[in-house]
């Protein structure tokens, strides 16, 4: 037996289109891209304003997408972080409260520190104590919401430096506001982290097969901590941006954020049980959702109808998953087989 003997299984793609097709098939974002294309087409035809006023659309995408980006880091590992919206509220309140007493920089640092502390507590319960992340972060959701009310004395905290807030909402680079720029910077940072940095690349392994990841010598608990910290800090950043841009921190803010960010992640092809998905997918999901929301808002479509649309798209994103389709196909074929057999009798 020599080394030349080679077993060839499967086909190796050749040629540009062959390679292109195989690259496309490898990505998990395929369905998200198709959905995005459909929505983009529909929007172009009906509401061109979505594109002509693209900075507004980008602002909406950044609003719902930022928290989703951080959340995806946790979802990739098969965990959930329900506390993101409350983290957003509490960090906004802390940022403004501290900034009013000292200065903005210290306010921002305090809010970021709060985000880190929250994620450490979340990760401690999930990774060390072993509580299901749904439950642990649900508890955190309520606790932080309450804390936001206590710190703010149950009323929105006005940012004293209103001019700073107004300036923060103005375009910084071309028509792009700081919010949009920060959103893209964070997207690039997390994308590089999960695709280039060893720890980030291992997120998929932790989510895909935790036992195997552990057996292969990956420090699973440390990865879970890292994921929650990303999620918490990004939520805190979103809270700071919201509070500064609105010139006030509202303890009830973020009420529509939680569902929107999960929707963006799911539409982007992320699998809630982990091990499947990508940050780019979430970006595409957020873009689809943002565009759709802006278009529907311009059309004056009422909220319940908007929700039907978003729900429909979520369902499409989920049921077009090949494994769901296989399951549907399997049970259908058994049923048909049965019917055919009964008829044959």
């Amino acid at each position: 037996m020599t080394n030349q003997t080679v077993i060839k299984v499967g086909s190796t793609a050749t040629g540009f289109w062959g390679k292109f097709r195989s690259v496309l098939a490898r990505r998990t974002e395929g369905r998200a891209v198709v959905l995005f294309a459909i929505i983009a087409t529909f929007v172009t035809v009906s509401q061109p304003l979505v594109f002509t006023a693209y900075q507004v659309t980008l602002g909406r995408i950044a609003l719902i997408g930022l928290v989703a980006l951080g959340l995806t880091a946790v979802i990739l590992m098969g965990e959930l972080d329900l506390s993101v919206a409350s983290t957003l509220a509490v960090s906004g309140v802390i940022a403004v409260t501290v900034a009013n007493q000292t200065n903005m920089a210290i306010g921002v640092l305090a809010a970021l520190a709060a985000g880190v502390v929250v994620s450490l507590i979340n990760a401690f319960f999930v990774a060390i104590v072993g509580i299901n992340s749904f439950i642990a972060t649900l508890g955190m959701l309520f606790a932080l919401r309450g804390m936001a009310f206590v710190i703010s004395d149950e009323a929105p905290v006005k940012l004293q430096n209103t001019d700073l807030g107004i300036a923060f909402g103005q375009p910084l680079l071309g028509p792009l506001t700081p919010r949009i720029l920060i959103f893209f910077l964070i997207f690039i940072a997390i994308q590089i982290f999960v695709s280039r940095v060893k720890a980030g690349r291992e997120f998929l392994a932790v989510g895909g097969n935790r036992q195997a990841a552990y057996d292969a010598g990956i420090p699973v608990k440390r990865r879970i901590f890292t994921g929650f910290i990303i999620s918490g800090v990004v939520a805190a950043i979103a809270g700071i941006i919201n509070a500064v841009e609105r010139t006030s921190a509202d303890p009830t803010s973020g009420s529509t954020v939680l569902l929107a960010s999960f929707a963006a992640a799911i539409i982007g092809g992320n699998y809630l049980k982990g091990g499947k998905g990508s940050i780019i997918g979430t970006l595409i999901g957020a873009a689809s959702l943002g565009m759709l929301q802006v278009a529907l808002t311009i059309s004056g479509v009422q909220i319940p109808i908007q929700e039907i649309f978003i729900g429909g798209i979520l369902l499409i994103a989920v049921i077009t998953d090949p494994s769901s389709l296989r399951a549907v196909w399997g049970s259908l074929s058994t049923t048909f087989q049965g019917i055919k057999n009964s008829l044959a009798k």
């Binding site: 499967g10 998929l204 058994t334 044959a344």
Partner: protein, 501 residues
Amino acid sequence: MTSPVIEARNIVKSFGGVRAVDDVSVSVMPGEIHAVIGENGAGKSTLMRILAGVETPDSGSVRIDGKEIENSAKASIDAGISLVHQELSLIPEMTVAENIMLGAFPTNGGWTKTKEMKKIAADTLKEIGVEVDLDERISRLSVALRQFVEIARAVARKPKVLILDEPTATLTPAETDYLLSMLQRLASQGLAIIYISHRIPEVFKICNKVTILRDGKLVTNDSIGDLTPDKVIDQMVGRELHLDLTQRRPAREFGELVLSAKGIKAPKVNGIDLEVSKGQIVGLGGLVGAGRTELLRAIIGADPRSAGRVTITSNGKKRVITGYLSAIKAGVAYVPEERRTDGLALTMTVAENIFLPNRKEVSPTGVMPKGKIAAFAKDLSEKVNLRPPEVTREAGQYSGGNQQKIVIAKWLGRKPSFIVLDEPTRGVDVGAKAEIHKLVKELADEGAAVLVISSDLPELLELSDLIHVVRDGKIAGTLTGAEATEKSVMSLAAGEKLVGA
């Protein structure tokens, strides 16, 4: 005389009173392919998990090059032990290269060096002679190719000892041949290989030494030259003389045909015909992973089948089974293998569990009078000899054997015409086991058709009127009466020709 690379000394490991590995010592030389064989549950996998540091032994030690190593996954990997798991441990959505290098990405200050990672992966694949696109995701590969990637991962660590747990279970004959020659090539380069398999022919083809385990104990540790396939099977089974033939069911006449399954195809099931008559107990023998559970679930419609027709006749009425609900209507009672997850609601009381499939029988109107439920449950629990028969206790408070009785009891209320049992006594103590055997036989005597899967050979022989041995999703042979022995079942299951009984 070279010294052994790996040496396991006096390993002992118990699970809840059962000695899974009982004082076993094994040593392997460099360049040696060492087979570890035994029946299902003989302790092979547990022993290997201990060697790989994934399981902690109660006592005993593992040495590499004469030095004792700490018991941890990391210590074993660092010492040069690579385990290729039986259940695949790849990450479906990561690429081939990433999977081969999992946990050992080459880095530069935290950044992965993708080029270097791909180069090592490519070299490893070349070394084992497998060609596959490095950027392909595992979920898009065939099961066989995944198995090779798994081996590549183990080899990429440059191990001194490579442990393979049933690597050929999912491979075609051609792929198996390729794998075996690959292992011989690796061994010729000085690697020590521990090869676990049920397949006797493979063992004789490539292995130098054979260790046989039975009930957790070491029974043989010989060079392959001193053994014959026949001898190996004898050693694996080893109970021929102890079998109590008086317990077996005498030959008898059966009633009308109850189950007729023709041309059943499903994942891991490749076209099987099966019939069970009234009063008959049909046993399904075979190795774990041969497709028995899949066959059974496809028959009763619990999982979808891709082809085949199933009918069940009860009370003179013939019904086509299209799904699990129609099977239940036709009088099927299914006692699954995983009773803790599939068969019982552990936090509900015995009465509630028994009541579940009998809602219509107990309360046709939908009203659920507690007393009536309790009385109904009490009758049935006495019939299955539940001890103590306190129907208001939570099911989870009972022992494994009693839990199994509850599962059986809950189906008896429907007076099933066809009873399907998957490993009915796994993890059950001896006393309860005998009672369950008695109960199953009684049910058949009362006119039920019974289909039972068991990996416990004496149990299979004791219960069954007829035994089908399943191998690779097909029926490898059918045995009745005197031709059914542990050895004949094992031979068929392991793929060795049926030796004259």
